[in-house]
Symmetry: C2
Subunit: 382 residues, 2 copies
Amino acid sequence: MRILILGADGYLGWPTVMHLTANGHEVMAVDNYLRRKLFNEVGVEPLFEVPRLDKRCAVWERISGCRVPFFIGDLAEWKFVEKIFREFKPDAIVHYAEQPAAPYSMLNRKAATLTLRNNLLVTANVIFAVREFCPDAHIVKLGTMGEYGTPDIDIEEGWLEVEHKGRRHNFLYPRQASSLYHTTKIMDTDLLWFYVRTWGLRVTDLMQGPVYGIFTDESEKDDRLLPFLNYDEIFGTVLNRFAVQAVAGYPLTVFGKGGQTRGYLNIKDTLNCVRLSLEVPADQGELRIFNQFTETFSVNELAEKVKAAGTSRGLKVEIQHVENPRIELEEHYYNPSHTGLIELGLKPHYLTEEVLVKMLEFAVKHKNNIAPDTIYREVRWA
Amino acid sequence: MRILILGADGYLGWPTVMHLTANGHEVMAVDNYLRRKLFNEVGVEPLFEVPRLDKRCAVWERISGCRVPFFIGDLAEWKFVEKIFREFKPDAIVHYAEQPAAPYSMLNRKAATLTLRNNLLVTANVIFAVREFCPDAHIVKLGTMGEYGTPDIDIEEGWLEVEHKGRRHNFLYPRQASSLYHTTKIMDTDLLWFYVRTWGLRVTDLMQGPVYGIFTDESEKDDRLLPFLNYDEIFGTVLNRFAVQAVAGYPLTVFGKGGQTRGYLNIKDTLNCVRLSLEVPADQGELRIFNQFTETFSVNELAEKVKAAGTSRGLKVEIQHVENPRIELEEHYYNPSHTGLIELGLKPHYLTEEVLVKMLEFAVKHKNNIAPDTIYREVRWA
């Protein structure tokens, strides 16, 4: 299958490039290095240096024999999008090309505007390009479980049949997010759903929970193939960040009561979810929604797990409850459904102590790179 | 009250400027003449020439004694927004500054991108400016009944209490629109709702149905004070368009079966709804939603009403069902609630034969200006 990967330099984009080529697909990679620019803007660095896309592609070609053509450019600009789609008529598009950090989107007005503009215009351009150049192509879009928020009823997989005053209607599950970033993903879904109904596009929207880990079958072959590991509050997902904090001797910063519960998954499962979605595409005119996570944990549970794994390796790990800089429920009902991807064949990798210990050991190896003052930035929502 | 009116040159913006100043409020008017630029782009003209904002303000000052300062500029540009808000610290903002035509948003990629970019970035800038310069100010935003679409259950006023598997949650009413323009209004609501929760803004989102008429207490004082009357398919709302078609001897073009039902209102009621909302503002941290219409009609009913009024004035009016260029249900359940504005004190002006005859007589006066080839453009959704 010819697969265009947008946002191919990212935490998930690059491992996806390798995973799909390793599984026999033909891939073109596109990115504008937005994430790297934002690292510079906010003054953070990943735990270890990650080579640019040209170098990563070269290393991957030497190791795997898979050549991955790539383009650097801004997908919010139609001229660039047009060029990409004319050059590589894809059977499918994996769309990761968004500003991905909730705290970044809440940093200030400029960051908020960048997030809104980038995420919406790129999604719109992808839709318009598919319509114009490859109307049969399947768009696999990364959404987020954060679109649903934390309602007091069960979260279903994308849709909700509502009974009201004796009548029934099947709606897109009503969504309410807790950051601007997550809100742009709601807007993406609305945009995709409108054009699915109007133009008969085929779209899979993957409502993904926070991802952890950096090790995949492909990334483990050479350290230069590992994805970004951010441990700062802005770009680091919570479990990756806690692992580095544990190694740095920096207390695990639990926001507020720590009862915030989310659905998590190992990066290996992200790759499998995306590949499974590509290999069994949505129908023409279908918006297919999967809830993409394997286990739910509260922040307190994650902190306890990291503490236990760290202690078993001789680390002294403290947990510290800090004032919550975000606006979110700290104790809430959470019961999201997630059967679609399992039915497609997903075999989950669960969060075991072994997985955590491997993350901790890796962080120990790079301990000298940790800049503790970049860990907790206290980006305030209000 | 100091009221900033964004989109003050528009079909509703200008009558609102006059109505609020006539009612003792201090108003600043802002527009970028987007609508006029789009008239030129798509090659249409309103039924009669409408003076620019400078001239209209001058005429209105001579007649009413009310001076209205105005600024011409693009509210998608932060620098301009900042200047406006620094200059005129408003108590309230009426936000009409959006690309308002569903068919325009479906014309082509460029028009769609303009709609998405303009509507979202302006709404975001208004939010950021209120946060920075006047956090207590009340934002009155024009939404649309089109955000709800045509679900098979009753449409409530903004919110829906859902019972699911024995538990309950109160959601923003789930929305699904039938044009890109309407979809941007859904996104606006999501954006406003997020920042209402996060920053405690006070917002009223008026889910307005299609408006008809051009006569208001103020606009009738001088023909140069009348708002745009568009009769083309792109910018003309259906009843205004039908009135002109009847006079032009152009069959009333009903799309498909004509059972499409919407909630309509007289332009006089728009002004009163907006004023009432301003005078009894939403609370801090409240997103207040009103469904702003006074009567529901199907397109068939509207066509029959125009035909009857026209016939009574000696016009020969035909009704023609044409293939529907849009994607929408042509027969559907429609039962939207609309009690909030009535409770605030709205006294509706209903669609009587007298109202229609006055519209027809006005169109007869300007019959020579009608360009029949601009009436039906067949902008196709698919």
